[in-house]
């Protein structure tokens, strides 16, 4: 069987050699275990840099925002492709600029989960189709991939790219019967006081590095509201009120747009699950408007238009 990596390299080399694209955006082997780095290749000879494994979690749609190249090849798993759709709908890139090299995805590994399950520092990792093996000084641990997926990947119902011009591998079976919102329902069931406290604890470690915001392909505003000075919407310090305002408003700006790609949570250096906020909005969008972001280039997003059957009665 040909590996995804090989197909990607062959596809990238072919697209670059034929002049179909000026660059291909993908991943190269990282410098530490369980980490690959987004990169670009411009020459067919460089296509050998590209890799694919369970550590390609970063959402590459982030890297095409406002790019000027006429033709860009981009490697896209399910969530990346949904964010490309959103990018196209929001005029951050044109469909004609993209040659989407879709990768059917079986989910990305959660490196923290794996690290927590190992007795020491992980020095080497390798994987098969269904298992990941981590090795360190004096230990070897093998995990079923399904047990160490990122939380969002374990709940993912759109693993196959929704748009693609090339496909690196056979489509995978989509997960059925997934309960996507158990965590959100648990928070919804809390009293306002409990909820206040819960979020206070959740956000306490935040250092406001904005990795969550910047890792998110949706956050492309030239000046983010937290950086505005006239008026200054939110204080810049570590006061919990400012931290909370930042996280809530950031989430609201993703309403009806978030694909739960997990970029924010993965990027966070202090392990905050801020996906809880965006998932609540995602759940509401689904329940109120039957809307899931980034599935179609034809349908306008839920927050983008009005329908007479809007469930909110105050608006009629």
């Amino acid at each position: 069987m040909t590996s995804t990596t090989e197909i990607l390299r062959e596809t990238a080399a072919r697209l670059l050699a034929s002049g179909a694209v000026e660059m291909v955006i993908g991943f190269r082997q990282g410098t530490i275990p369980m980490m690959n780095e987004p990169c670009f290749v411009r020459k067919p000879a460089e296509a050998g840099l590209l890799v694919w494994d369970s550590h390609c979690g970063i959402n590459l749609a982030n890297y095409v925002t406002d790019r000027k190249e006429k033709k860009i090849g981009i490697v896209a798993k399910g969530c990346d492709s949904r964010n490309l759709v959103t990018h196209i709908l929001e005029n951050k890139i044109r469909r004609e600029q993209l040659v989407v090299i879709g990768v059917p995805c079986r989910g990305m590994a959660d490196k923290r989960k794996i690290a927590m399950k190992c007795p020491g520092e992980i020095l080497r990792v390798h994987e098969t189709e269904t298992a990941i093996t981590a090795e360190g000084e004096g230990f070897t641990r093998t995990f079923e991939k399904a047990d160490v997926l990122q939380h969002n990947c374990s709940l993912c119902t759109h693993r196959n790219p929704v748009i693609h011009d090339e496909l690196a591998g056979e489509p995978v079976e989509e997960q059925q019967g997934v309960d996507r919102y158990a965590d959100v329902r648990a928070v919804e069931a809390m009293s306002p006081e409990q909820r206040w406290k819960y979020f206070e604890d959740l956000l306490a470690p935040c250092i406001r590095c904005y990795a969550c915001r910047n890792a998110c392909p949706l956050c492309y505003c030239p000046t983010c509201f937290v950086d505005e000075s006239r008026p200054q919407w939110v204080g810049k310090g570590q006061d919990p009120v400012d931290v909370r305002t930042f996280h809530f408003l950031r989430a609201y700006h993703c309403a009806g747009r978030c694909t739960d790609c997990g970029a924010c949570e993965r990027a966070c250096p202090v392990g905050i699950n801020m996906r809880l906020f965006t998932k609540k909005l995602e759940k509401d969008c689904l329940e109120l408007f039957g809307w899931e972001a980034g599935l179609s280039l034809e349908v306008r997003p839920a927050l983008d238009h009005y329908r007479p059957n809007d469930p909110n009665d105050f608006i009629r």
Partner: protein, 49 residues
């Protein structure tokens, strides 16, 4: 997000519906008054000695 129910309310009032605006404003004011002063999203700041 842990704000008490009733402290934040939404209404849709056309610019022509002046009486509705008055009624809603009065209702909201009363409702918030009943809740008492807000304790959340309030920042403490150092006082000048």
């Amino acid at each position: 997000m842990g704000i008490e129910p009733g402290r934040l309310q939404f209404s849709w009032i056309s610019s022509a519906e002046s009486t509705k605006f008055v009624t809603v404003a009065a209702q909201v004011t009363e409702a918030v008054r009943a809740l008492g002063p807000n304790t959340r999203f309030i920042k403490p700041l150092a006082e000048v000695a």
